[in-house]
């Protein structure tokens, strides 16, 4: 029975029916036990409630039951033949942001609940933002209580579009919407007959099928040494720890940081001395090196050609957890990061972020309980790190208060604090006459991207809105003239176009990008860069089938690729990775290019509302 493990965080309040939903998942997947159910029924009756209050299952503490609120993260477990699930169930109330952050830190998937009658509330936005801040790769919005809106498709779609508009400002790689009734069970475990218009999978089916293996970082080999195991009799000296990224194999050349010593891996042992041929995250292993080196807890083993950042000046987003103290510049804490602990000073607070509006308050000078902000930190000893977006294990840290010993903050490293001073713009975005954003059209060669993009540009200009078309083919004559078509060239091509688009958008223009941009990771970076800058990014997937593109073949490129005259042609001998969650999908049946452009324009107008 080789089940996979999926960790999910649920967010929402009791009013949204979250506990009922979890109870339903447990009950319908036959994980809820009869004595637990009987206890809940008994307690509900004692409280004079008509239906079994499934919230009583998760609210384990006396104060929670007495006050009818959930205070702390509760963990729930259930399993299907395919997967074992660990639910970190987090309370939805505003004062418990810290619990959501805690529960979300290791989650593969976030489940956010909204009440179909109330729609997307401030709280839902906050949950979605926290999920993106913590880099949960998959987000599912459950529109619950569909029974109370007569199973209305229109209502579901209204909520979906409303949420999608907000999510565009975030960095959410995979977004799924499921209409459910937790009370009646529709679309939770079983489909039910009430919403025949819904073509997606029921919630549990999605949880079982969502692909999480590719979320892990298998590229950057990182092994923070946790503990040194010695056994004199056997002349054994091994470095124990948990792989935090990449893959290690016996024979690999490795580099030990911060010392800079080089060696190679002699052997890798799993728990109990099982020989391992390939070690990857999150395996707990013991590594033997070929050379006798002075390696200790806190050191990091990596590959010589791919090392983490080393530095004492860090930029980070932090969430403050303490209610009796606040974070302010000048304060010092102990930072726990990978297997290291070091003293850290808060050099400056760049801004405090309003998690509901995403507004940045640059005049803020402290962070109180549940507040989130961007800080610059200076560490006493150099820290070996990767940006959190690249690796959660080497980019996340906590701060410990040295007087109380309490954990007072969670932090996510955004990068090394640069010595290049960023020139603060004298004109703010709000002061410009128009607001810009980026529309990114991706698809195969000859899919029709450029034609639609040109139509969109014309429509916008006619409507009096500044717009500019950045066409991939044209840019290769100038900006990107030095780049070819190897994967690294394509990545650099996308990076440059994204950076230029971002400048146009910042200046108040609608940047329309028409670029094959075949790789998902490159597009995700472009989206993330926009998100970091607070700019909207609308991904349009021009989903024209390969056969159609090939039949069009206006420049004869497909014919040449088929004949082997050109190598690495997208769709023929180089992959096109379709977007998982684009804002707009355009298919040949959706109308002529002008109609398609009008569809995009309608979405942009919605965004502005």
């Amino acid at each position: 029975m080789a089940q996979e493990l999926l960790r999910l965080a649920t967010a929402g309040s009791v009013d949204d029916g979250k506990s009922t939903l979890i109870g339903r998942l447990l009950f319908d997947s036959k994980t809820l036990f009869t004595d637990q159910l009987a206890a809940v029924e008994r307690a509900s009756r004692d409280r004079g409630e008509e239906y079994p209050n499934l919230a009583l299952l998760t609210d384990g503490l006396r104060a929670e039951r007495e006050q009818g609120i959930t205070i702390d993260v509760a963990h729930r477990y259930f399993a299907t033949p395919r997967r074992k699930f660990i639910i970190a169930d987090t309370p939805g109330h505003i004062q418990y942001t810290r619990n959501m952050v805690t529960g979300a830190s290791t989650a593969d998937l976030a489940l956010v609940l909204v009440d179909a009658r109330k729609g997307v509330l401030e709280q839902s936005r906050r949950h979605a933002f926290l999920a993106s801040l913590l880099r949960i790769p998959h987000l599912v919005l459950c529109v619950n209580k569909m029974d109370l809106v007569d199973w209305s498709r229109e209502r579901f779609e209204e909520i979906r579009e409303d949420f999608r508009r907000f999510a565009m400002k975030l960095d959410v790689p995979d977004l799924t919407f499921v209409p459910v009734s937790a009370l009646h069970g529709d679309n939770v475990v079983h489909r039910g007959a009430s919403m025949p218009w819904y073509e997606g999978a029921p919630l549990l089916h999605h949880l079982e099928e969502v692909h999480v293996a590719s979320d892990r970082n298998l590229i950057d080999a990182r092994f923070p040494v946790q503990y040194v195991i010695r056994q004199q009799n056997r002349d054994f000296r091994g470095y124990a720890g948990t792989v935090s990224g990449g893959v290690f194999k016996p024979g690999d050349e490795v580099l030990v940081l911060p010392s800079g010593f080089r060696s190679s891996v002699r052997a890798i042992w799993g728990p109990g001395g099982k020989a391992i041929t390939e070690a990857f995250a999150p395996q707990a292993v013991t590594v033997e090196l070929a050379d006798e080196l002075d390696v200790a807890r806190g050191d990091l083993i990596c590959r010589p050609g791919n090392r983490p950042h080393t530095g004492q000046d860090l930029d980070a987003m932090v969430c403050w957890f303490a209610d009796r103290s606040a974070l302010s510049p000048g304060a010092t804490y102990t930072m726990r990061h990978t297997t290291r602990a070091t003293t850290v000073e808060v050099r400056s607070l760049e801004y405090r972020l309003d998690v509901t509006t995403l507004h940045r308050d640059e005049s803020a000078n402290s962070l109180a309980l549940n507040e989130i902000g961007r800080v610059q930190l200076r560490t006493r000893q150099p820290v070996l790190f990767d940006p959190y977006r690249r690796n959660r294990a080497t980019g996340g840290f906590v701060l410990v208060d040295d007087t109380t010993n309490n954990t007072v903050a969670a932090g996510m490293i955004t990068g090394a604090a640069t010595r290049v001073v960023w020139h603060a713009a004298t004109v703010t975005r709000d002061e410009r006459p128009t607001r810009g954003l980026t529309v990114w059209l991706t698809g195969l060669s000859a899919s029709g991207k450029s034609t639609v993009a040109a139509e969109l540009e014309r429509l916008l200009i006619t409507a009096g809105r500044p717009a500019y078309l950045l066409d991939g083919d044209n840019l290769r004559h100038g900006l990107n003239a030095d780049l070819g078509f190897r994967p690294e060239d394509r990545a650099e091509n996308v990076r440059r176009v994204a950076a230029v688009a971002q400048l146009f958008a910042d200046a108040g223009t609608v940047a329309i990008v028409s670029l094959i941009s075949p790789y998902r990771a490159d597009r995700a970076k472009a989206r993330a860069a926009h998100s970091d800058a607070g700019l909207s990014f609308v991904e349009v997937f021009v989903d024209t089938p390969l056969a159609v593109c090939e039949a069009r073949d206006p420049k004869g490129m497909y014919a040449r690729a088929r004949a082997g005259e050109i190598r690495g042609f997208t769709g023929i001998d180089d992959p096109y990775e379709a977007p998982a969650a684009p804002e707009v999908v355009l298919r040949p049946g959706d109308g002529d290019p002008a109609t398609m452009a009008a569809t995009i324009l309608a979405i942009l107008n919605l965004l502005d509302r």
């Binding site: 089940q3 493990l5 036990f33 637990q36 702390d72 963990h75 906590v398």
Partner: protein, 303 residues
């Protein structure tokens, strides 16, 4: 070897537990592992041995003995620590009763369950243990569902559920002052089924009473209690012989058994996968005190 770089859920749980053991060994001075011979503590010790291979675990084990334990379990406990070569420290509830530090309950339903807490705290204090490994799992009970992996205890050994340290990623905060300690629960994310699946996969030996056997039992409060020298029969109770096994092993006066024919780990796994009653619901009178029975005892310093 897998080429998809995916771990089975048992491998992932094992890795998480091993990480916790090593973290404690690296950051505490005097850890100890609570070992009763019960299945969770057996799995705990098995993981500790694996975590530090080829060296022995850098800590010993301790057992709080109520004096009302099953003979089979005590025999297993002693045999296991001898086989593995680990140090065993026994804290006896009887010593605390004799010294007048605690007063024993009276009557036929008397239990020493609650008295264990005083003995445990005394053992921790006398030995200056700073980290105490326990086999508690979050799926056992709803107060435990809110428990941290590293759970802070103040100088009185008490737990404050409303003031727990946030725990993120795999970063654990074990900071404490002298006299305070941390309870560490490496099996936090394991379920009863996980524990049994692991016992079957790793072929871990358990006390014989975890498997089906014939014994004299008596019905009480909806549970089946074993007839042992520690149990006083009430009026109208008629012991009879049945084929049973234990799902949990604690004080013989309040730990019930279930009728079962499961005689091997694989049969137990199959039985648990099909069962619809939690292990504590079926067999633990000590959890039935009130809706907050476990929370109250945990606050006092219970496991």
């Amino acid at each position: 070897m897998t080429s998809t770089y995916e771990l089975s859920h048992l491998d992932a749980l094992e890795a998480e537990s091993v990480h916790v053991f090593r973290e404690v060994a690296a950051t505490f001075e005097r850890p100890v592992l609570l070992f009763s011979g019960g299945k969770d503590s057996v799995v705990l010790l098995h993981l500790a041995i694996k975590a530090f291979w080829p060296a022995p675990p850098p800590f010993g084990v301790s057992h709080v003995d109520t004096g009302h334990n099953f003979d089979e379990v005590l025999e297993f406990r002693d045999r296991t620590v001898e086989k593995l070569g680990v140090r065993l420290l026994v804290g006896r509830v009887q010593d605390d009763i004799d010294a007048g530090r605690v007063v024993e309950e009276t009557g036929p339903r008397a239990s020493r369950n609650r008295l264990q807490t005083a003995t445990l705290l005394r053992v921790i204090r006398e030995n200056a243990f700073d980290a105490v490994f326990g086999g508690a799992r979050r799926d056992e009970e709803k107060a435990r569902a809110k428990e941290r992996v590293f759970s802070f205890r103040d100088e009185f050994g008490q737990w404050d559920p409303r003031n727990q340290r946030p725990e993120l990623w795999n970063l654990y905060n074990g900071r404490h002052r002298k006299g305070e300690h941390i309870r560490v629960f490496p099996l936090s994310n394991w379920t009863e089924l996980d524990v049994w699946s692991y016992i079957a996969a790793e072929e871990i030996e358990l006390p014989s009473i975890y498997y089906a056997h014939r014994r004299e039992v008596v019905q009480r409060d909806g549970m089946l209690l074993a007839r042992t020298r520690h149990l006083t029969l009430l009026d109208g109770e008629h012991p009879y012989e049945a084929t049973v096994r234990f799902r949990t092993v604690g004080d013989a006066t309040c730990t019930g058994c279930v009728e079962s024919t499961a005689a091997t780990p694989a049969e137990v796994v199959a039985e648990i996968a099909a069962t619809r009653i939690t292990e504590r619901g079926a067999t633990r009178a000590d959890d039935r005190i009130s809706e907050a029975g476990m929370e109250d005892r945990k606050k006092e310093g219970y496991f």
